[in-house]
Amino acid sequence: MATEGSGFNPTAVLVHLVAIALGLYLGWIAMDRISPDLPDASVEPGVSATGEVAGDDAQSLLRPANLEPALTQLAGQMTAGEGLVRLHIEPGTLESELNSGDGLFQPTDVPADAPVVLTQTIDSERGGAPIDLDEIAYMDLVATRDGPRWYVQLDTSRDVGPPPWTYGAPIAGGPIEVGPGPPKPVPE
């Protein structure tokens, strides 16, 4: 711009500088007006149903027909390179804990029918009081050194009989482990 014309051209320099300053100012004002309210970056991905949902309800996330779209919606909130350390499933909510690194799992790895299959296995294992989806407090799928493992907590506020009230299983569903502590996630 300074060399337009013969040598230094003050008109060219002035026009350029004033226009750039005005453009930056107008741009700043305009962009400030359209700025959206940003979400809290610390929130982990998750989904929730509207209203109270019991384990055996038609809207329950323990049911395969609901868990599958919920997992898809969860995957849409994750960034490439992120994996699940823990997936927490309750009848009305799906929560997650993310990290990056080896040994983690993706929402697509989760078999949507696992909660139902596990509940049936636990029911046949326990005998006595029947265990249905209503008796499940929550299910966690945790990335461990031995691969993702389920941890199932029965709802002790209901008539579920005597302990044990916790069960563990590999991601595929069996063999079932009776009365384990919460699995240790990776990376530690």
Binding site: G5, S6, N9, V15, G27, M31, L38, A41, G76
Partner: protein, 209 residues
């Protein structure tokens, strides 16, 4: 008058679009990954007005094309020669990529930076790539100037040396100095060699014996 108006409009639009592009990228980094729609309520729901961020980014890039078009038709400045238009490379290319870099770095390191999930790594990659790409525009401008500058042409003696070398090639296999000198003289008379070139080669033949 035409120069002043068009330059002013183009540069204002350039600067406006730089802000739009940088701002769009900055906001995208703050939002990170979000989801809209679906049967359930997402924890990372996309905020209202997120579309404006995408429009500012895309509209900013398109606006740079418009600004470049106006800038190229600005004509000669008052009392000056018609411009060479090399500067548009800087305003368009370097401006675009450096505004991307600025938006990315502000989104990661800026005072109001709060990059969303995955935003930090992505922002740094985009930022450094933008810096490098933008510098390419300055480099292209500099190379273009050097190509046009007479001072950077090769030495003027180079073509003459090439002709001398061509003329001297047959002498490599010439039987003796006398016949070489005769052929050299013939080339001079034909106009293939200048007097100075003739003298140079003649001295060389005499020296070689």
């Amino acid at each position: 008058m035409r120069y002043v108006v068009r330059t002013f409009v183009a540069m204002t639009l350039f600067a406006f679009c730089w802000v739009a592009v940088g701002y769009g990228l900055f906001q995208m980094l703050q939002v990170g990954t979000c989801a809209s729609g679906g049967p359930y309520v997402s924890a990372r729901e996309c905020p209202d007005g997120i579309e404006a961020v995408f429009f500012s980014l895309i509209g900013g890039v398109l606006g740079l094309f418009v600004a470049a078009g106006i800038y190229l038709t600005r004509g000669a400045p008052p009392g000056g020669r018609p411009p060479e238009n090399a500067g548009v490379v800087v305003w368009f290319w370097t401006g675009l990529f450096w505004s991307i870099a600025a938006g990315a770095f502000l989104g990661v390191w800026g005072p109001e930076a709060n990059p969303g999930p995955g935003g930090e790594a992505g922002g740094l990659i985009v930022g450094f790539m933008g810096l490098i790409f933008g510098a390419g525009g300055l480099l292209a401008l500099n190379l273009g100037k050097r190509r046009r500058s007479p001072s950077t042409r090769g030495p003027v003696v180079a073509p003459a040396m090439a002709r001398i070398a061509t003329a001297a090639t047959p002498f490599a296999t010439a039987p003796d100095s006398l016949s070489r000198l005769e052929r050299l003289d013939r080339l001079r008379r034909q106009g293939s060699l200048t007097e100075a070139e003739f003298q140079t080669l003649k001295a060389k033949i005499v020296e070689d014996g």
